[in-house]
Amino acid sequence: MKEKKLEAEHSSFRFVLALSSHSIQLNMIKVRNLSYTYAGQSSPTIRDISFQVDNAEIFGFLGPSGAGKSTTQKILTGVLKNYEGSVVLKGEEISKISKHFYNNIGVAFEFPNFYLKFTAIENLQLFASFYNCEKYDAEMLLKKVGLWDDRNLKVEAYSKGMRMRLNFIRAVLHQPKLLFLDEPTSGLDPTNARILKDFILELREKGTTIFLTTHNMTDADELCDRIAFMVEGQLPLIDEPENLKLKYGKKTLKVKYQSGESSVLEEFDLKGLGTNNEFLKILDEKEIETIHTQEATLEDIFIKITGKKLV
């Protein structure tokens, strides 16, 4: 009887252990009460922020210039160490990690820096040599972002868009578990931006966690599972883009239809729309040009939350 009780206690203990290890594995990034003050400054740049990023999640980090996004990213990548609070990456406090931990992290800064006198392939070979882990084939990556034909061109001859694509593949070259991207589609034409965005989604499918800092609301909307708005060092809002759009939008629908020679625009409340005779009559009798629900765009939310317009 006593043995059975002990066994039951053990099994519940194992269950609790399994649960806790599962929850640890779910969070790739766990930030608690993070504050940071630069030397010589009296007020903190980052003020008591807390958030977590799950495994294989794309987490968007939005906010106006000077809000503290770059500082947060520098703390998360271990560049700035004297912070207050806790920053745990893959179960390890970032201020205590060894150099080898960087095999797990890839970073693509907004302004790409390369050895300009080296070709693209020479740059990739050099940076790949800094990592002691399994890597993607550079040829495959260069072909994927359309740089294979220019692989032997010196980077100084690359356009901004080409450098951004090279910047991106350098960050993913060593198959990082956690990828930090800062404005990854900046300077790219729509076709190449699409290629990169598809690649980002593909990486997420393979299990990579992505921390995306951007001003580009289309990118944030398309890519992010959740987004956080940073304002003056604080995070007043973290949610899924869809929830935010609904929460901050008007619960109405706008219909534009032909009436005689001109177009007419009418707005209807979503509540009871299916039984709204006026609306149903328009659908039935008029030639509809457009129908749009009035959920907020991320840009509207950005302006509302941050009080600043996007540049």
Partner: protein, 238 residues
């Protein structure tokens, strides 16, 4: 070691694609040629026409030349470092497994190794082994070789860009004056020159019976210089 070999290889590539760095890298070989042939030639001419052989100054001349070589190599790697610092490469490398410390180790060790090999070759070709044993030569070569990271860190810590780097490396050459002042002048004031790392090398070679105390003092002064410059450089790159 695989991490470092690619970086070392890329340095050669960098040097090969920059005519100024290429020239500065080849210059130490020219210094050996000057020591071996030009000295003898000029000495022969002065002896013949002025009845003034220069052979008695050869050892001092050799020391002068031998110290220039690590300075040149330090300048070459210093310019690479300036490019990397200004291009944000050091910041990027600091978030890779190589790290800032691994990177700086390569940057400082490679010119030390090349300078050491150069010094040993120079010693053997110019007959230093006639008055110093191999242990003494080895220690001396090692201390002289640390002029390279001193120059490199000096550039990294004080030069805002490559143009400033050229001016600063010339300024660093002023240290060579301490050798001239110590060798050609007399007086107790010369002890003040001991603040220069080069003074200890010259004194040691010119007074081989006291080589070990001078090597010891030289090692300490070099270490202090490198430590202070390293601190200054790290503060600069954040």
């Amino acid at each position: 070691m695989a991490n470092y070999s690619q970086l070392i290889k890329s340095d050669f590539r960098n040097i090969g694609r920059d005519p100024m760095l290429m020239m500065a890298s080849i210059a130490p070989v020219l210094l050996i040629l000057v020591a071996l042939f030009v000295f003898t030639l000029v000495s022969g001419l002065t002896e013949k026409h002025l009845n003034f052989p220069l052979a008695q100054y050869f050892t001092f001349g050799y020391i002068f030349l031998i110290i220039i070589a690590p300075m040149l190599l330090g300048m070459v790697y210093g310019f690479i470092l300036l490019d990397e610092r200004d291009g944000g490469m050091i910041g990027y490398i600091s978030i890779t497994p190589l790290g800032k410390s691994g990177y700086l180790m390569v940057r400082m060790l490679v010119p030390i190794i090349f300078s050491f090999l150069f010094c040993m070759m120079f010693f053997l070709l110019t007959g230093f082994h006639d008055f110093l044993n191999f242990l003494q030569l080895g220690i001396l070569a090692l201390i002289i070789a640390t002029e390279a990271p001193m120059m490199l860190l000096f550039l990294g810590a004080f030069a805002g860009n490559k143009v400033e780097g050229i001016a600063i490396s010339k300024g660093f050459g002023i240290l060579l004056m301490t050798l001239v002042l110590d060798y050609f002048f007399r007086g107790d004031w010369r002890i003040l020159l001991s603040i220069s790392p080069l003074w200890w090398i010259e004194r040691g070679v010119m007074n081989p019976q006291y080589i070990y105390p001078y090597l010891f003092g030289g090692a300490i002064v070099h270490f202090i210089f490198i430590f202070l410059l390293y601190k200054k450089f790290i503060r600069r790159v954040g």
